[in-house]
């Protein structure tokens, strides 16, 4: 707790609190979740950084998307992301979330995850080891410090585009749009875009 740390606490306590108390949603989206248990138990102990798994998205502000995202899991990821209180941060594990990774030509996985939900940072490695996760956490701290970890703001601003992309891949979603005001304008053209693709492959209604 040196001097400038103390100054940071005094100037922006909320930001510091968000840095040192990251509750991660305990949701195994892909193969990377096998790295999370050793991270939070005795050998590596993520709790000293303030990272604790939480049972529900309502308690969480960090969403670790560990590994490839299948089309079916995307539906659950979007639902969980929208249920997390703001400000919230997402970190993608491995290359599968960046460009599809080794499933680049699979019919069933999502290639670029940040077309559907905003991602604040990626960790290289298939799958990244606990030390890499801690490096990611410290990087996330610097991002929060510099106000660059603004995934949730981008989601709110461009919600229409995100929603359109989601419905393009998943067909009609069972829950109403999270920010009805923003999608007021967006739904019209979003639906138009969806129509031409839909003729090629019809999105299954949920």
């Amino acid at each position: 707790m040196d001097r400038n740390e103390l100054m940071k606490w005094i100037k922006a306590p909320a930001k510091m609190a968000h840095k040192y108390s990251l509750n991660a949603v305990y949701f195994c989206t892909g193969c990377g979740i096998i790295e999370v248990p050793p991270t939070i138990t005795s050998r590596w102990d993520a709790e000293r950084f303030g990272v604790v798994p939480s049972a529900t998205p309502r308690h969480a502000n960090l969403f670790l998307i560990t590994g490839y995202v299948s089309v079916k899991t995307l539906r659950a990821i979007i639902r969980t992301y929208e249920q997390m209180p703001e400000p919230k941060y997402t970190v993608g594990f491995g290359s599968c979330t960046i460009n599809g990774g080794m499933y680049w030509d699979s019919y069933n996985t999502i290639k670029r995850l940040d077309k559907y939900i905003p991602i604040d940072g990626y960790i290289a490695g298939c799958m990244p080891r606990p030390e890499a996760i801690f490096v990611a956490v410290t990087h996330l701290w610097t991002l929060i410090d510099k106000d660059m970890a603004d995934g949730y703001k981008r989601y709110r601003k461009n919600y229409a585009a995100y929603r359109a992309n989601q419905e393009m891949v998943l067909g009609k979603l069972e829950w109403p749009p999270l920010f009805p005001k923003e999608t007021g304008t967006g739904t019209a053209d979003g639906a138009a875009m969806a129509m031409d693709v839909a003729s090629h492959t019809t999105g299954r209604t949920g």
Binding site: V71, W104, D105, N108, M168, H200, R204
Partner: protein
């Protein structure tokens, strides 16, 4: 008289040929319509457990091959001299109009396997209670596991056509 299983099988059914596969397994080639009778016969023989139903797409021969793997866990000797614990039952189905009677009547466990094969290979199983989708979220003209399904083209059409989210302002 416990003649070896292969001979008994050959005698009861006409148009099948039986040979012994690797490590003592029996491989039985069966025409489409007589799959269920063979399965019931083998079940009475003691092969009470259907391990899996899988499908192979021989695109050059224009046929989808269904493979039923049966095994038995009773102690006494069943088949020939050293007793074959497992039996493969294979049947070929034309790729165009792929349809086979469902094996649920004989083995209940076949239900999810047949649903999966129906979804991924497009083989229709008559008498199956619910051939609804199991894994896939979207509809496909050509079932994805068939060899003539072009995944790269599909990915280009569906996923690459989704525009990245532009930063407004």
């Amino acid at each position: 008289m416990n003649l070896p299983l292969a001979i008994r099988l050959g005698s009861t059914f006409q148009s099948i040929d039986v040979e012994s596969g690797s490590s003592g397994r029996l491989v039985v080639q069966v025409p489409g319509e007589s799959v269920v009778p063979v399965l019931t016969f083998l079940k009475e023989e003691g092969y009470g457990y259907l391990q899996l139903v899988s499908c192979v797409d021989w695109i050059d021969r224009g046929a989808l091959q269904l493979v039923y793997l049966l095994s038995c866990y009773t102690e006494d000797e069943i088949g020939g001299e050293e007793g074959s614990q497992e039996v493969f039952v294979k049947t070929n189905v034309p790729r165009g109009r792929a349809s086979v009677p469902s094996a649920i009547g004989v083995y209940e466990i076949a239900e999810p396997y047949e649903r999966e094969i129906h979804e991924l290979y497009g083989v229709h199983f008559e008498g199956h209670p619910r051939l609804t989708p199991l894994f896939l979220e979207r509809d496909y003209e050509i079932p994805p596991f068939r060899k003539d399904f072009d995944t790269k083209q599909y990915v280009a059409d569906v996923f690459d056509s989704v525009p990245p989210v532009k930063e407004e302002g």
